[in-house]
């Protein structure tokens, strides 16, 4: 049995005084590929942001590698091996592409790796972050997080706005990272892609988990999928 890397126990979190996550508990084990799906506004992003320390956590415990991290500021969590690709991309607009990447560099990562992954970024390396196209920003957001060599990568809809070819390439990259032992948590709207990629799937509804199981289980159980996510057969 692989060890638990990240654990949320009865987490209550939200914005200001409102509670979005209500007693959420989940475990992520070392090296796995976990997908989180759910309708709009159910709290997927909030879950990832809470793990990263960006939303207000009212109660509950989050442990990373067995150590409670609830009180830690985001940068300490990052240094413990967490990496987040935010849904809104959040490119630093006044930094160039290259500086955006440098801002993420830890543990001697090389920017060339990022350029190998996304040659488009290399072409635009001197451009200001604000001038990038939507898809270029998405690539940069992913690449920037990878510069920190995180053990566990939280991806919030990383395929959004990318051309299908790039999507495929990116999914392949994630698979490769997973093979190299990185743990990946993927929030994705495209249920089909998510189910193909992940081993395990969690469905969130109203700030709580309503399904947890193997991806294959969901794939074969259309009725279940319909009920929670409201999708007709995953299209491919």
């Amino acid at each position: 049995m692989a060890e638990t890397l990240l654990e949320l126990e009865n987490v209550v979190a939200g914005y200001g005084e409102t509670h979005i996550l209500r007693n959420l508990s989940l475990k992520v084990v070392q090296g796995e590929r976990l997908a989180i799906i759910g309708r709009n506004g159910v709290g997927k992003t909030t879950t990832l942001n809470t793990v990263m320390g960006l939303t207000r956590q009212h109660s509950g415990t989050i442990r990373l590698k067995g150590q409670p991290i609830d009180r830690l500021p985001p940068h300490k969590r990052s240094r413990l091996g967490l990496g987040l690709v935010p849904q809104t991309r959040d490119i630093f607009p006044s930094l160039t592409v290259e500086e955006n990447l440098q801002a993420g560099v830890r543990n001697g990562a090389s920017i060339e790796e990022a350029y190998d992954l996304f040659p488009r970024l290399k072409e635009r390396r001197r451009n200001g972050g604000r001038q990038l196209s939507g898809g270029e920003q998405q690539m940069l957001a992913v690449a920037r997080t990878l510069m920190g060599k995180p053990d566990i990568i939280l991806l919030d809809e990383p395929l959004e706005g990318l051309a299908p070819v790039i999507c495929e390439r990116l999914v392949a990259v994630f698979q490769e990272l997973s093979r190299r032992g990185h743990t990946i948590v993927l929030v994705e709207q495209h249920t089909a892609i998510a189910l193909d990629f992940a081993e395990r799937v969690i469905i969130i509804e109203q700030g709580g988990i309503v399904f947890e199981g193997a991806a294959s289980e969901l794939k074969s159980n259309k009725e279940l999928l319909d009920r929670h996510v409201g999708i007709a057969a995953p299209h491919h």
């Binding site: 630093f92 930094l95 830890r106």
Partner: protein, 287 residues
């Protein structure tokens, strides 16, 4: 011809003082993007400290300068931890209110201990010796300021554009949450930058005191001047502030030489024209 030369020399010497007194602001307001109306407050504290050290305790100028800058940084650090840290998150308008509040308290404090008269700083007498440049006589003080100003702008440029700290700072300012989730210790970066800004303000206050003498109401009296330099230079650009300070110095000086009667109107009209043409200042970061 000699008039033109005089304008340039006097203008640069004056511009360098403008740069000196506002460079701290181009760090806190330009780079960190806090509407820091309390900038002059730190200059005031630095100047007041140097006044006390040189006049009351007879300390020589250079050690007094160093001690005063350190003192201001020592004041700035807890102030950042307790107050400014929260101000970063405020909206711009709230920042206006908060930093005005701080500046009032600073003024009141200096007023309480030292009164509201001019607080002179004793400099070594050689500093005010006229130096003959052949075509022109310039006080040694101005030459020192020019040299220090050049060193400062180079150092800051390298720090902001060429070091990891510079990248971290700019990233943290763009988006604190994202920077933090990339592992950047944003509170520390902010603290360091803020202390730097405050320290520079103190240096500027002290070295600029020859022209803008220190007194309790200094921060309010010259607020427009600080803002002008940073605005014309462009937010976030140290080099921009530098060029702006020099241009404004030359412009103002030219106005005084050539159109003394309407110098002020000329100066502000020129600023209006400049900002109408280049609304984001002379130099801005890529946007």
């Amino acid at each position: 011809m000699t008039v033109a030369l005089s304008i340039v020399v006097d203008g640069i010497a004056y511009g360098m003082i403008l740069f000196m007194i506002s460079v701290g602001l181009s760090v806190t307001m330009g780079l960190m993007r806090i509407v820091n109306l309390a900038h002059g407050g730190f200059a005031l504290l630095g100047g007041a400290c140097a006044h006390v050290l040189t006049m009351r305790y007879g300390m020589p100028f250079v050690p007094a300068l160093a001690a005063s800058v350190i003192a201001v940084i020592v004041i700035a650090i807890p102030l950042e931890r307790l107050v400014y840290r929260h101000i970063y998150r405020f909206s711009e308008l709230e920042q206006v209110l908060a930093t005005i509040g701080i500046v009032f308290v600073m003024i009141a404090t200096v007023n309480l201990f030292l009164g509201s008269t001019l607080l002179t700083i004793r400099m070594p007498p050689e500093v005010s010796l006229p130096v003959n440049l052949g075509f022109k006589v310039l006080p040694l003080h101005r030459i020192i300021v020019i040299v220090v100003g050049l060193l400062m702008v180079t150092g800051l440029y390298l720090l902001v554009e060429r070091t990891r700290f510079g990248i971290y700072l700019r990233a943290a300012v763009d988006n604190q949450n994202t920077a933090a989730s990339l592992g950047i210790d944003t509170p520390k970066v902010y603290l360091a930058a803020f202390a730097l800004g405050a320290g520079l303000a103190a240096v500027g206050g002290i070295l600029g005191a020859e022209l803008l003498p220190i007194e309790a109401y200094y921060p309010l009296r010259y607020m427009v001047l600080f803002l002008t330099v940073v605005t014309v230079g462009g937010m976030g650009s140290i080099v921009g502030s530098f060029i702006a300070a020099l241009s404004l110095g030359i412009l103002d000086t030219a106005g005084r030489y050539l159109l003394p009667d309407v110098g002020t109107i000329f100066f502000f009209l020129a600023i209006i024209a400049l900002l109408a043409l280049r609304p984001n200042g002379l130099l801005v970061r890529p946007s």
